[in-house]
Amino acid sequence: MVVLAQLQDREDVHLQSHIDGAPILSLKGISKSFPGVKALSGVDLDLYPGEVTALVGENGAGKSTIVKILTGIYQPEEGTITVSGEPLNFPTAQDAGKAGVTAIHQETVLFDELTVAENIFIGHAPRGRFGLIDKKTLRRRAKELLDRIGAQIDPDVTLKDLGIANKHLVAIARALSIDAKIVIMDEPTASLSYKEIEETYELVERLKAEGKAILFISHKFDEIFRIADRYTVFRDGEKVGAGKIADVNEQSLVKMMVGRAVDQVFPNRAPDLGEEVLKVVGYSHPTEFEDIGFSLRAGEILGFYGLVGAGRSEFMQALFGITKPSKGAIRIDGKVAVVRSPNEAIHRGIVYVPEDRGKQGAIKGLPIFQNVTLASLSQTSRKGFLKLAQEFEMAREYTQRLDLRAAALDQDIGELSGGNQQKVVIAKWLATKPRVIILDEPTKGIDIGSKAAVHEFMAELAAQGLAVIMVSSEIPEVLGMSDRVIVMREGRIVAEYEGEALTPESLVRAAAGIEEARA
């Protein structure tokens, strides 16, 4: 009874504040510096119960930094945090959890060797007798959480056996395993395809209905306008705007964010297709993909669309020599080629920009310029000896084109914001001057302005005769950039579209298996 009354009480308080429109969490004048950059200077941010606040800004604007401050990972140099009217500070992550804040971070911090269930409950596992971890309850609750977000993942599998999208879903489940009043999501949909994205939106709606205050960080404007109630805009570490989403449109939001108007078109291309450079015949793998075959011509941009688990990345990695196919052959320039390692692939002119930036893309611990030149050392060196001046020159050229935001070229790539790390990874592969470039979710986490730069770059390379394969789960990107699109489902090619037949509906239906047609 007492408990019930307390609950009632809490509910009242909550309703009260909702009516008053008082924020449940309020940041005032927060500042945070790193060597060479002021990541945040005196920013304010308010979150309201039962409402979604979208936080937008360019790569490096300070969005993730504020998330880390709210979760006790970083300490601000100035400013105050107020939760439900009470001033607080979060010296550790535990304190933030106790104050009712939970977060899905941009770079998920999970443990590869543990099971999914253990990852979800690490640090707060249900305990049985003698304080031992209660495995059965652990499994059951993990399953419940995974079901709640609509993820079909076995709680007993080891995390390292999951693809990046499923890892991300585990991170979401982990955040929700803490009963929190404030839920922060830092680009939660960046690794997901539309099916999981829809489920994420539903989840947000449910959390909203439960009265949680949600901070939602995203570079995708369609989703911001779909699920957010309020917005806050950061630019170069300062708050430049906030208000109700109903009062703004995409243009005005972009203008606040970038500081100038942006007209929105994909590069105008007149594809001039050359000879066939790559032909794949009957590529198969025991578990991941089956009988993949297509041909690719110079100057062409070929899109690969599909849902999470369709086997696109797995196939691309086999093409790049990471995994061995069980059957099949490839021809490069009409000649049969065997690719047994990434090194051989690169020598044959095939490069792969991986999807998993943190593990496969960025070499954290090495400076930006060394990351850019790592796959092209033969170009920037003489007889095996490094030429630093040439390395800096190459790095400067590419980082400038991609509008990298960093303090200096010798800065550790691990210190960059997520989107800026992605730019460095793309630069690394563009610098190799390949013949065939495979881009796996190339603009993941990249802001609207830089996305244009990447697309422009891709179009320019294609115009110079490079063949491009682009794996993307973003339909506008697939439609806007590709000359032709192959759709994969459950490890097989189920459809191929070009020209008129290439529509959002056709892609989604083929990917979901509603219609199987090879146009």
Partner: protein, 338 residues
């Protein structure tokens, strides 16, 4: 639809090469701190004993570290790449035993050198194969081969010793190039330069750092990770062979207990030199200074008649300290920021 058109004024910013000048970087480096320590040890030693500053004594002092340092250079690269070789001292034992056996069969000095280097290379290749070919963790593999290699020496020699090395063989460990400059000192300096260039100025060195920081990402970047690691094991084996030649020549005899416990001193030297035990960072100049520091401390203890067991306690404490220190400093800085 998304996305902008690019006009020239939106072209990105031009980034400077460096945030800190190399000079400022050096002023906050581990190497400088070590250099200060080295000077302090030097001064302490010269006060502790009137004999220390004598050129011949100083020259003698270098033998305390030159042989270990040769291995430490290769070990430094190996640890930066994220692997380790604990069998180095046992490789010395095996290489020395092989040379001793060759002497019994009447081998001349060039043959002995060849035998020493070959055994070192073979041992390195064996470690490298088990790690890169079979995918076993190097710490486990080399603890195993540590027992294996020395075990073979014990079987061959029992409690006997090989002696009777040719007189010109003595040059490697006892010879002087001029005045007080020993051959070992010259070899140490030459190897320091070679390894510094290899690690800091070549593509190979860059790959070593990349692998140590992110082996998966390195593979995806086209680096032949297993081949690089195998090469590093070979190099470490080879340098153990070189050290075996110098040490055997200096002692003039081979016992199976030769160089016992050196692997710890070599690893300590590497870590004291600022190489991260978890891989990814470190420098050869750091290892060079660490070699001087450890050599002079050992010599100082010798001058003060400190017993050997104290010395090994000291090495153990030093190893724990230099591994713990970066973390303690990091934690302190984090707390101060809060």
């Amino acid at each position: 639809m998304t996305v902008t058109s690019l006009d020239p004024q939106t072209l990105g910013r031009v980034l400077p090469n460096r945030l800190k000048s190399p000079v400022r970087r050096f002023l906050t480096s581990w190497e400088l701190l070590l250099l200060v320590v080295a000077v302090m040890v030097f001064i302490t030693n010269s006060f502790a004993s009137p004999y220390f500053l004598d050129p011949w004594n100083l020259s003698d002092a270098t033998f305390n570290f030159t042989e270990k340092a040769m291995i430490a250079f290769a070990m430094g690269l190996l640890i930066i790449s994220g692997e380790i070789d604990l069998s180095v001292a046992s490789i010395i034992a095996l290489a020395s035993t092989a040379m001793g056996a060759a002497v019994q069969m009447g081998a001349d000095t060039p043959t002995l050198v060849l035998v020493g280097l070959t055994v070192g290379l073979l041992c390195g290749a064996f470690n490298g194969f088990l790690v890169t070919g079979m995918g076993l963790p190097s710490i486990v593999v080399t603890i195993g081969t540590m027992s294996l290699f020395r075990g073979i020496s014990y079987i061959v020699l029992g409690d006997k010793a090989y002696t009777g090395y040719p007189s010109d063989f003595a040059f490697f460990g006892q010879g002087y190039v001029g005045w007080v400059i020993s051959f070992e000192m010259v070899l140490f300096a030459a190897l320091a330069v070679i390894f510094a260039i290899l690690l800091h100025a070549t593509n190979f060195g860059r790959m070593v750092y990349a692998i140590g920081n992110n082996p998966v990402g390195s593979l995806f970047s086209g680096i032949r990770v297993p081949r690089v690691k195998f090469t590093l094991f070979l190099l470490t084996g080879l340098m153990s062979g070189v050290a075996a030649i110098c040490l055997t020549s200096r002692l003039g005899a081979t016992r199976p207990s030769i160089a016992f416990g050196w692997e710890l001193e070599v690893v300590t030297m590497v870590v004291l030199g600022g190489v991260n035990i978890l891989g990814g960072s470190g420098s050869i100049p750091g290892v060079v200074i660490a070699a001087f520091v450890m050599g002079m401390v050992t010599f100082g203890f010798g001058l003060l008649n400190v017993p050997g067991i104290v010395m090994s306690i000291f090495i153990g404490l030093l190893l724990i300290l230099v591994i713990a220190l970066p973390r303690l400093v990091g934690r302190y800085l984090a707390r101060r920021k809060a």
